[in-house]
Amino acid sequence: MSTTKLNRGDVLNKLMEVRGNALAIAGLGSPVWDLAASDHQPENFYNWGGMGCAISMGLGCALAQPKRHVWVITGDGEALMGVGSFATVANQRPDNLVIIILDNEHYGETGMQKTHTSGGTDLAAMAAGAGIPTTMTVHNDEDLNKLINALKTSPLPLVASIKVENTKPKLVLPSRDGVYIKTRFRQAVLGSTAALHVT
């Protein structure tokens, strides 16, 4: 196995090429900057807080929008904080939910302390143990191509832990206004009338 890890920006650029019309929910921290850098658009929901909730938020959205794919893009620390959600997702088995973890084995926003994945914790194995039908760890370009193939052909939900370099990404910042981010997303998905008026 190569010792050179994948670059998180390159990984996300490659994945966004095959995103299609999937909705995206980013977990707080670097995945937000990564998604904003790679494919900024109204159908992205950026979490600036609420650590541990990106996967459950993705599940809620996937259940509400069964005809759209929903991609959760998050980090290893964020996923670990809400790791029980693997079991909750597995129990619901939404066939439109993809969970992509950019696993740099560190808490990037708090001083680059090591997360549990640097000490042997295997997020893909945890997801498989929870009952997620398709799980994988991505180490290199070949694995990444396998993931891209799995996104088209394997049963969902899918959890992929992508091992990436422990580098600070470029800070590409979306708006911090949660109400704006929420409403923009709903307008894009539901249309303006449904997003702005209660039925």
Binding site: G52, C61, A64, T88, Q92, A195
Partner: protein, 183 residues
Amino acid sequence: MAEPWTTAAHRLFKQHNIRTVGYVPDAGLTELIKSCHADNDIKSVVMTTEEEGIGLSSGAWLGGEKAAVLMQSSGVGNTVNAIASIVSSCQFPLFMIVTMRGQYGESNPWQMPMGQAVAPVLKSLGMHVFEVETDDEAAEAIEAGLKMAFVSNAAVAILIGQKLIGAKSFIADVAEEVINVDN
């Protein structure tokens, strides 16, 4: 006799088009959980921790649907940061039903501190908290709360008191026989 609050809750969920119900079980929620599971128009989601309910409900709203979250009072502490960070910052609607422990007639001392903390903690987060003790009060508060949550983007918690759901009796409810050690 008044309509049981759990029947009223399910009826009002239908009336207000609640499509997802996330829950961590409690004895007091048994009937409501059963009726949600029996309803094909409601996606019933058992969660590993109450915090998931906040993500689930917010995610449902992003996708254009309404969700409700059910939990026991001891789980309220698990929701605090998610409510503050996600619900308050983004003004997501939130509708929670909390069945109380550590309150009227409680027989487990470990439940008391959290039971006493629930209302002040939720109020400190800016939530609208309705404490109810009869079936009629509960139905009325659930109806009011559903409107407030989804029409006014409010965060609402209905606290169902132990006077209504009954305090758990360890001897009768849990086992056929009780043996005390640590004598």
